[in-house]
Symmetry: C2
Subunit: 291 residues, 2 copies
């Protein structure tokens, strides 16, 4: 158990006001027996993993998947490469706003800075506006910070409400994302306990994430998925990533919902028996929006 006096230190990629920062804040709110959390902004996703493994942070918050543009594959590859454990998830609505300095009209804006993923999630806004040049920036809140420093109505950023208040920017146009239902699912990572078996299981139903490499035989993926389906387990996501050392072969990242430890034992046995390599990435409580 975490004692009341422990400080929760969460690492995330970006600058204050980033969506990952916000996701970390929401995760911390669910952990009631800790003091107010501290945050460690990191330049890259790899740095988040490093901060967690070094112990500088006891948690890391990384985006895994967006409902519009898909997986943030860099983080899947980092999950494979590092010995960390997913202990939580946060699913958060992502609303992108056009942010500028107070008094700016949308027609004044010439260049819009944001993370390439955010620019992509707002492609219809750019098509409709016509005159705007999209400029890639390393993250959404960093783009907001940059615009607040430029103090020029020709520049705007695409970022969230959290970043607007962090950098004192006005919201020039709200909700410019292509799809009104636009959410990102974040994983909360930590250093693994000394042994898999000593990690407490979350209260059922919970989610399990794993990565597998399959035997090089036709039908091996069909066989694995059929065995999982035979246990009445709902597979919520499957993502393939290349194995660079074995060209045109793939490893699969699989998320499943489990109703308890019996199903867990059965599926772990199936995973071990049907794969060449099996890695448990974590067990965690599915995110429910807080009231």
């Amino acid at each position: 158990m975490t004692s009341r006096t422990d400080t929760m230190r969460l690492a995330y990629q970006g600058v204050p006001g980033a969506f990952s920062h916000r996701a970390g804040y929401l995760f911390a709110k669910t952990a009631k027996d800790v003091d107010s959390p501290e945050f460690l902004p990191c330049e890259t996703f790899a740095a988040v993993f490093d901060q967690v493994l070094s112990g500088a942070a006891n948690y890391g918050v990384v985006p895994l998947e967006n409902s519009t543009i898909g997986s943030i594959v860099a983080n899947y590859d980092l999950l494979w490469a590092h010995h960390v454990f997913i202990v939580g998830e946060v699913s958060m609505p992502i609303h992108h706003h056009l942010l500028g300095i107070e008094g700016t009209a949308v027609d004044d804006v010439r260049e819009v800075f944001s993370h390439p993923a955010a620019l992509e999630q707002c492609s219809k806004f750019f098509e409709a506006a016509g005159h705007l040049r999209a400029v890639a920036h390393f993250d959404t809140s960093g783009a907001a910070q940059h615009v607040s420093e430029l103090k020029n109505p020709g520049y705007a950023a695409i970022a969230g409400e959290f970043a607007a208040s962090e950098y004192g920017l006005a919201i020039l146009k709200r909700n410019i994302e292509d799809y009104p239902y636009n959410r990102t699912r974040f994983g909360v990572i930590t250093r693994p306990l000394s042994s898999e078996s000593t990690a407490p299981y979350p209260r059922p139903p919970y989610k399990i994430s794993c990565a597998v490499e399959l035997p090089h035989k036709p039908g091996s993926l069909a066989l694995l998925l059929t065995r999982i389906a035979g246990l009445d387990i709902n597979l919520t996501k499957i993502e393939s990533r290349p194995i660079p050392e074995a060209p045109w072969h793939y490893r699969f990242f699989i998320d499943m919902e489990l109703d308890g430890q019996d199903q867990d034992d059965s599926v772990v046995k199936v995973l071990k028996d049907s794969t060449e390599t099996y890695r448990l990435l974590g067990r965690y409580t599915p995110w429910k929006d807080l009231a």
Copy 2:
């Protein structure tokens, strides 16, 4: 049949010297009954699809997958959104070189321009060098063009041999990609014929690419893959992409190798019967390296 006097016009993303340009050239060499091909450079992948659909180009060449970094998902989404047909593939080794103006030493270089995907494929080179700043550029050959214009030993580009000769740059360091086996698979797209059934089948064995949306029932992917495996068909790739209108649901892009029209008829029936939506994306001859 294409007559000898037809001109082959291939659209690709990038500027002359791009890997896609080279892939188009290799594809054209396999089509012996046409005159020397013309090339249409495009700014974006979407523009390549537009040029093909408008008839300005009779072929488009787009990267689909790299053996190190995975799928170029933007092109999968464009394949879904546009009514085009894949009629060919090209698989090409991708060797990245550090290019600079003649007489530059690697130690002189401070900033390196390239496409983010190429920068990512050379991450170990940057780690080892330490002092280099990676700067994102819209494509590899465009970065080479930019460096040739800057004429400053502080700047270099990461691009292929083809781009070095196109822009008169020296190769400062060869093969800086992380994995020596680094290949990209390109798809060659064209406007579909008036009816699927009138398109000639390639000589067996050939590949088929399709996209499906599955019923929202647990086990539906397992069932589909089991039926495909039951036909002794080798599934060479499966890629999931989000359906933005149906959050946390996915469509799957599937590539298979077929031994002829009987297997083709059977698998198309399975695909139609087991899915909510089925789209044939193309039939084509698997790429064999030319001697």
